[in-house]
Each structure stands twice: as C-alpha cells, then as structure tokens.
C-alpha cells in the first residue's frame, strides 16, 4: 500500500551562519491512507514549517518527501502546482476564500485550474457544498457568510478535487465553539468515509478527534500516540454527531 505521506529525516533551516534558525531538525513521518493525524506543538515547534513542506508550499533543506508516492523534491514549479491541485486539499485558519466570488465559484476554482469542464465542475462543486451542509448558500459571497460557514466552504473547496490528503492548518483557530464542533464533525465524518486528514493544531480538544496525535517540539517529533486504528472510526465521531 502506498503511503499518503512519507517524510524522511526532513530538516529545514532558515537563514545561514550564526543567525540560522533550525525549524525542523530531522522529522520523519509516515501516514497511511485513511489515517486522521493531528500534529500538535507550541508555537515555534516547527509545525507550520512541516505543514508548508507537506503542502508543497516549501521544500525541505534536506531529507526526502514523498506525497502519494510522488517525490516532491524533484518537481519543478509547474509540477508542484499540479500536485497542489490534485493531491492536496488545503484548509486554512483564516479560511482564505477569494472575496467577491460566490461560494460556488470559490469551490469550483481548483477544478477550473485542474481543467475540469464547466458542467462537471458545477456538479462536483454543488456536491461538495452539499456534503458540508451549505447547499442553500451556494450563491453567497464570503462576506455574507459566518466564520463557520466560510470554513465549511473552504473545506468543500479542499475536498472538491478528491485529494489524497486533506491538510488543515488550525482549522478551528478563528471559530467559536459551536462552529468548531461543526467543522470537527465534518472532519470526523470525512475520516469515517476513508479520507486521509492531517490537522495542524495546538488545541488538545481538536487533537482528541484524531486517530493519531503527533507532538512536535523544537523541530523534532517527541511523541506519537495512536488513539484509534487506521482503518477504524475516529474516536469522537459518536459524540459530535449525537
């Protein structure tokens, strides 16, 4: 079975000489398909750097990184764009929807860059919005939606390309508690449906939903705890939906 994520001994150094900052000091991480991983750590622990590398937004200074069997290190700019488009779905803390574009158009955007035909695009975007419970808000612009709704649009946008990996960076960091529960519930259901999810967070509440929790400190993995089996259900699924 191909690993969705295979990071081997990745290091990342910003700057050089005496002022060099070692954000990652040899991180190895393997994620199997269907897993739901929470990456935890205080700020400065290197979790954002790891997220950028996993998301193909940055390259490690040393070490190897395979995403869904593809060696990302050897890709050029254009191929990286394709990998980001097809293999990764991003969910950001600050939603990052494009203003002045309807929810539907926002969700269609990755498909447009992926070269999907308009009719097919619309069908898949509507399905993704339906999945996150926003079928009745498709024509609203981001500024007409609540934070929780915006984050759900962002999740729909991340899912619409059926990526190998759903990568979320503090997805609940800007949300109130009820919206947080909504979003985590969606993640639980997606995980139950077999999606591979990596969530970067510093909140233990969020991490409790994952099947596996990884703790980073000073650029190294210091803890790797499994809460539920890879092919099982996420531990808190019942509670949230109940």
């Amino acid at each position: 079975m191909t690993l969705v994520l295979d990071v081997r001994d990745a290091t990342k150094v910003y700057g050089a000489g005496e002022t060099a900052v070692h954000a990652l000091r040899g991180v190895s991480l393997q994620v199997e398909p269907g897993d739901y991983v929470a990456v935890m750590g205080a700020s400065g622990s290197g979790k954002s750097t790891l997220m950028n590398i996993i998301g193909c937004l940055d390259v490690p200074t040393a070490g190897e990184f395979h995403l869904d069997g593809v060696d990302v290190g050897g890709l050029d700019d254009r191929q990286q764009a394709v990998v980001r488009n097809r293999k990764i779905g991003f969910v950001f803390q600050s939603f990052n929807l494009i203003p002045r574009m309807s929810a539907l158009t926002n969700v269609e955007l990755p498909l447009a860059y992926g070269g999907v035909r308009p009719a097919e695009r619309r069908r898949r975007a509507l399905a993704a919005l339906d999945l996150v419970g926003l079928a009745d808000r498709v024509n609203h612009q981001p500024n007409e939606l609540s934070g929780g709704q915006q984050q759900r649009v962002a999740i729909a946008r991340a899912l619409v390309t059926s990526p190998a990996l759903l990568l979320a960076d503090e997805p609940t960091g800007a949300l109130d508690s009820s919206s947080t529960l909504d979003v985590l519930g969606i993640f639980d259901r997606l995980s139950a449906a077999g999606r591979t999810i990596v969530v970067i967070t510093h909140e233990p509440d969020v991490a409790e939903h994952a099947k596996r929790v990884i703790r980073l400190r000073d650029g190294q993995v210091v803890e790797d705890t499994r809460l539920a089996p890879v092919d099982g259900l996420p531990p808190r699924l019942g509670e949230v939906t109940a």
Binding site: G55, R78, A81, R84, N85, F90, N96, L109, Y113, T161
Partner: protein
C-alpha cells in the same frame, strides 16, 4: 485552464474595481483618441492645402515681379530696387512666342484689384479680388463656368465691360436671381455678367476662392487698375512633363527682356505648381508627425498608468494570488490573468478612443475638416494592445513569481 477561463477571471478582476479600471482606461482612451484625431487634423489640413494648390490650375507657372531682384545683392541688399522692370503685356506676348517658348501652351497676363465694391439694384458686396485677364486664364487657372459662358478674345480686344463672377459674388448680389445677362456696377463702372464660375468649394484660410470676378484685361485696366504693370502672368505648360522646360524657357525669355544676368539678379519670380506642392506636403507631413508625436506621449503616459495600477492591483491581491497558487493555479494561469487584465484595460481604452476620435473627426476643428487615416486607427489600436502587454508584463510577472507561503502570509 482554458483561455476563455483566464479572460473570465480577468474580467472579474477588473469588474471588482470599476472606478479604478475606468480611470486607467481613460488614460489609454485619451492617448489613442489624441493620436487618431491629431493625425486626422494634420491630414485634413494637408489635403485642404493640396486642394487649394491644385485649384491654382494644373501644369501652371505663375510669374510675378519681385522686389528683391535687380543689381547684385551686395549693392542693393535693402530697400526695393529702383531699376526693376515691371511685368508688362509685352512680356506676356513674348512668352506666347512659339519659337522662343515651345513648351508654353497659353499665356494669360493678369491684373487684379482687391476689395472692389460691386452693386446690383439694392445689393452691394465688396468683391475680394477682381481679375483682368485673357480667356485662356479660365483653363489655366482651372476655373470652369457653371452658368453662362466665358468672355472671348473679341471682348478683350474691344475692352467690353463683361464679367464672369464667382459663386459668393453671385449669391451676395443676386440671391436666387439668375445673374447671367444682368448688369452689375463695380466701383461705379457697369459690367454685364456673362457667366458664373463653378463653386471652388474650399477657402484657403481667410481667402474665399469663390469671391472673385473675372473680366477682360483692358476693361479692368481702364476702369479699376489703370494701365500699370501686370500683377502676374499665368503660364500653362503643354503637359505636366513640360512644366520644367517651360520654366526654363520663361526664364531665358524674361532674362533677355529684363536684362537679367551677371551681377543683375532676376526681378521676377516663377512659382512652380509642382515644386510648391512638394514643399507644402513636406511641411504638412512634418506638422502631422509633430502632432502624432505629442499624442504618442500621452499614449505612453496612459501605458505607464496601466503599469502603475496593475502594480497596485497585484500588491493588493497578493493574498488572493497566494490562495490561488495554494489550490493549484499554475504560474501561467496567474501570469495570463494579470496580463489579460492589463491588455483588456488598454484594448477597451483603445476601442473607445477610436470611437471618440472617429466621432470627433465629424466636426470641423480649427477650420480644418479632419480626415481619419485608417493606418493611424490600426496603429493606435495595435500600439494600445502592445502597451497593455508590455506595461502589464512586469506586474503580471511579479504576481506569477510570488511564492505561495509569502503571499499567504501577506496581510
């Protein structure tokens, strides 16, 4: 990612900031309209001047007396020369000699009197120019009659008081009445109108080519100018090819008769239609180029406006660019979007500019009817699109080169 998609994104981007887009477009609009309109004005003035020159008659040479001739210039550099001989009817006769001047087709001695008051019944009108000449003048100076007839050699010999009048004169004096056969009084002397000239149409600046009256030479001399020197001699050459030969023959005949040669400079000058035309067209094309250059600068300024606004747009939308890149937009799509935005701005500005210039060219500007040159429209449009591509490429490149993490971090 199809081209249509990129254009749609670009249009959406422009529509997001309508005021800014409109003002940027305005810069290009003004530039393009200025180029087309100013070139049209230049072309219009050039054409009207050429037409006026052509009206003087084809293949003609105008001989007039000159005050700068006479003895050597060193001796009499200032003041009119005293020894200059005026042009006379005898000079004209000599030029008509087939043996001495075989290239000359016809010779018309001309006297003219300016601002002569003519009246008919109650109406009165100051005729700008009353010309006394021979019948050959009509053909040489390209003045056909619309009504009635010319006067004839007989009329000249008998010094009959007959006159052919221009349209302006006919309208001012007679109104709707047919002037042919009626009598007008020019400065107290009665003349019978035998014909009306065809409308010349254009007026060269302040001179109305239709405000003339043409009568036999001796009649005008008797009643208006006196038997002094001729104002000019109009010579028509056998053909266009013979114009230069005719000029040489005239020069030799007149040099001999006026004792010109050696230290004595010519006391007459010959105006050659073709030379005049060349000189004038060279001058007007310089004028047109100058106008176009001034207008081109405004087009350039408009282009810089596009760069400026696109740079602002790219900076303002850095985060959006980061998002697009994070969800898999290839560099080409981002580059394309911003390049198309810039090009659309300039293309829309260009098209509107053409529309405004064409509309503006329907009006008379500073007494000149502008003539839109199709080449200038194509050029201005092409340049405006090129400006969009050129001036948009720097900001678009900057957008495409943004690194997604940095762009996403941008606030």
């Amino acid at each position: 990612m199809s081209a249509v998609e990129i254009v749609r994104f670009a249009v959406r981007g422009l529509a997001a900031n309508k005021m800014r887009s409109a003002l940027t477009t305005l810069g290009i609009l003004i530039g393009v309209a200025a180029v087309i309109l100013l070139v049209a004005v230049g072309e219009g003035s050039s054409q009207s001047i050429q037409k006026n020159i052509a009206q003087l008659g084809a293949n003609t040479l105008t001989v007039s007396s000159s005050t700068s001739g006479g003895f050597s210039r060193g001796q009499e550099a200032t003041g009119p020369r005293t020894q200059a001989r005026p042009l006379t009817v005898d000079d004209a006769r000599a030029l008509a000699d087939r043996a001495a001047a075989p290239s000359v087709a016809s010779v018309s001695p001309v006297v003219s009197a300016n601002a002569q008051t003519a009246s008919y019944e109650g109406a009165s009108h100051a005729i700008q120019q009353v010309v006394g000449t021979y019948p050959s003048y009509f053909e040489a100076s390209n003045k056909p009659v619309a009504k009635g007839a010319y006067f004839f050699n007989d009329d000249v010999l008998a010094a009959r008081k007959v006159v052919v009048i221009g349209q302006t004169v006919a309208e001012n004096l007679f109104g709707p009445v047919d002037p042919v056969g009626r009598q007008v009084t020019i400065t107290g002397v009665p003349f019978t109108v035998v014909g009306v000239l065809k409308e010349a149409g254009s007026s060269s600046g302040f001179q109305d080519a239709d405000d003339v009256a043409i009568a036999p030479l001796p009649s005008v001399q008797q009643s208006l100018t006196g038997f002094g020197p001729l104002s000019q001699i109009l010579v028509k050459a056998e053909s266009a090819d013979a114009v230069d030969a005719a000029q040489a023959e005239i020069t030799s005949v007149l040099d001999q008769r006026h004792g010109v040669g050696g230290a004595v400079a010519a006391d007459y000058q010959i105006l050659n239609q073709a030379t005049l035309q060349e000189t004038v067209s060279a001058a007007t094309s310089t004028f047109t180029v100058l106008l176009a250059a001034v207008a081109a600068i405004s087009l350039l300024v408009g282009g810089i406006g596009i760069t400026n606004i696109m740079l602002v747009t790219v900076t303002e939308r850095t985060r959006e660019i980061g998002i697009r890149k994070a969800i898999g937009a290839p560099r080409g799509a981002i580059l394309g979007q911003f390049l198309v935005e810039a090009t659309l701005l300039s293309l829309i500005g260009g098209l509107l500019g053409v529309a405004i210039a064409v509309a503006g060219a329907q009006f008379t500007i500073a007494g000149i009817t502008p003539v839109v040159v199709p080449g200038s429209v194509v050029l201005a449009l092409g340049v405006s699109v090129a400006i969009g591509l050129f001036f948009g490429s720097y900001p678009a490149n900057r957008a495409a080169k943004l690194r997604p993490i940095e762009a996403l971090r941008f606030e």
